[in-house]
């Protein structure tokens, strides 16, 4: 890394870092100065202490919840993409399916959790994984179908002028066109999967998961532990989000290519 790229990276990084540290400092000092009771808002420092103290429990719980969100994420993405292809191949279905999916996506899907629990049992992880998968499915389906169908008419005409068939058009035009849309959906659903997993746990299930750890400790007024659990879950959600960003970067390199300077034009 030469000095110039280092400088440009630093200029991107320092404002959020400064604000982040600022928020933490403000939080810590506000709790101390205004003598806010710990149960309302624990200090970041005591959350950190509890995090270290309960590390084993939290690590285990977030891994259990993590498995549910990852599993649901995988099922939801695969079925969402598959349905998007299906809707693209059968244009008739797409005209009705997309508005339907958009409408269903507007309903509180997590409310299905108790029904899924009744179907698949509360003790295993299938039920909650399917809740996550359903939540993930709709944004993935809607966005990918949009990317596959909303192709510029000239691009299709060009391919037809090359006597290309539907399959070639799918491979050369529709799929690359859908990639940014898919990446967009991925960025949305990655953190959503963690939240959906935690909410689904509210309707019952094994007691070694993050959602339970949070409500249990909150119930005992051990709010700093609850906050520590939230911090761990956030870190997990954040790493999924960063993963989605990386996938976006790698799969759509043309999006991040920089416009040439005027001076290089001939």
């Amino acid at each position: 890394m030469n000095l110039a790229t280092f400088k440009s990276r630093a200029s991107v990084l320092w404002p959020p870092v400064v604000i982040g540290i600022g928020i933490l400092a403000l939080w810590e000092s506000a709790v101390v100065l205004f003598k806010i009771q710990e149960f309302l808002l624990p200090k970041p420092s005591s959350i950190w202490v509890e995090l270290l103290e309960n590390w084993e429990v939290l690590r285990h719980a977030s891994w259990e919840t993590g498995k549910i969100s990852l599993g649901g994420l995988a099922i939801g993405i695969v079925t969402g993409v598959a349905f998007a292809f299906f809707a693209t191949l059968f244009r008739f279905f797409n005209e009705g399916l997309t508005p339907l999916a958009v409408a269903i996506n507007a309903t509180p899907i997590v409310a299905l959790a108790p029904i899924f629990n009744a179907w698949f049992g509360v003790t295993g992880s299938v039920s909650n994984q399917l809740v996550v998968a359903t939540v993930v499915f709709f944004p993935v389906f809607i966005n990918t179908a949009k990317g596959l169908t909303e192709v510029h008419v000239n691009e299709i005409e060009l391919m037809r002028s090359y006597a290309a068939g539907d399959w070639t058009i799918l491979r050369e035009v529709r799929i690359p066109n859908a990639l940014p849309f898919f990446a967009n959906a991925l960025r949305v659903v990655a953190p959503l999967s963690v939240i959906a997993a935690i909410v689904a746990e509210y309707f019952g299930g094994p007691q070694d998961r993050v959602g339970y750890v949070i409500t249990w400790n909150a119930g005992l007024a051990r709010y700093d532990v609850a906050w520590a659990a939230i911090a761990v879950a956030s870190a997990f959600g954040l790493s999924l989000f960063v993963g989605a960003l990386l996938i976006e970067r790698v799969s759509t390199p043309w999006k991040s290519a920089v416009q040439l300077e005027e001076t290089t034009k001939k």
């Binding site: 037809r160 090359y162 043309w254 040439l260």
Partner: protein
């Protein structure tokens, strides 16, 4: 210019949404032949069906009545045989392919080997004077550069016919005039036939051997104007013969307007 026909359009009608409430007759009674090696422009007010006519030649649309032949075969066969290349107003490059990969796209679909493709795309980049830009993404280039890449892509498999739909319509005047000279140079070097849709009178006068003036609703051939400016350079734009041709086209277009 040979005597063989590149395109022959025989008594063609094109009706959209036939038998429905919103039926539109886009073209009616079109008869037109274009010789091999000719540069023919289609000009007319909007709604005259000039883009539709171009798409009939390219078999992107089918005529409701009549026939379109390209190099003595049906337009459909000509498309299957890849006898023409197409350039649109918006360069229509694929964002996700680098410039050289865009030029290679038709070659890839025709099953060319990788090394042949690379050689040809470099030749084409040289032809359109962008030798060093193969590795860039289209979005990184200016509009004029993108349009040159689009022409390179259309010419990459050496089609005998080039169909251009207002290719310079979105460019600024200076770039546009520069591109016109470039296009004429490429036309002379490659000997392809060009069918060129435009709404610019000077552009039609400057580029063409023949200008086909279309009248709208329904689209019909109003008149065909022959132009002979010989070898064209920047100074041709000040040539009285150029002005005379432009005036003739302008008068034909006025007559079309009055007809309405």
């Amino acid at each position: 210019m040979s005597e063989k026909n590149a395109v022959s359009i025989n008594d063609v009608d094109k009706i959209f949404n036939e038998t429905r409430d919103d039926e539109v007759t886009a073209l009616s009674n079109i008869d037109l032949t274009i010789k091999e090696g000719e540069f023919v422009s289609l000009i007319g007010p909007s709604g005259c069906g000039k883009s539709t006519l171009l798409r009939l030649i390219g078999d992107l649309l089918e005529p409701t009545q009549g026939s379109v032949e390209v190099f003595g075969k049906s337009a459909h066969q000509a498309r299957i045989d890849q006898d023409y290349g197409m350039v649109f107003q918006h360069a229509g490059l694929f964002d996700w392919r680098r410039v050289s990969a865009n030029i290679e796209l038709p070659l890839e679909l025709h099953g060319w080997s990788k090394s042949d493709r690379a050689t040809r795309s470099q030749e084409m980049l040289d032809l359109v004077k962008l030798p060093d830009f193969g590795g860039y993404y289209p979005r990184q280039l200016s509009g004029g550069m993108q349009q040159r890449v689009s022409i390179a892509r259309a010419l990459s498999f050496k089609p005998k016919l080039l169909l251009m739909d207002e290719p310079f319509g979105a460019l600024d005047e200076m770039t546009r005039e520069h591109m016109q000279i470039e296009l004429l140079r490429i036309w002379e070097e490659t000997g392809t036939t060009v069918v060129f849709v435009t709404h610019s009178i000077p552009e039609a006068a400057f580029l063409s051997n023949r200008v086909v003036v279309l009248s709208p609703r329904p689209g019909q051939v109003h008149s065909v104007i022959d132009v002979d400016l010989g070898q064209r350079t920047e100074s041709t734009r000040q040539d009285p013969k150029f002005f005379a041709a432009a005036t003739e086209i302008r008068e034909a277009l006025r007559a079309v307007e009055e007809q309405e």
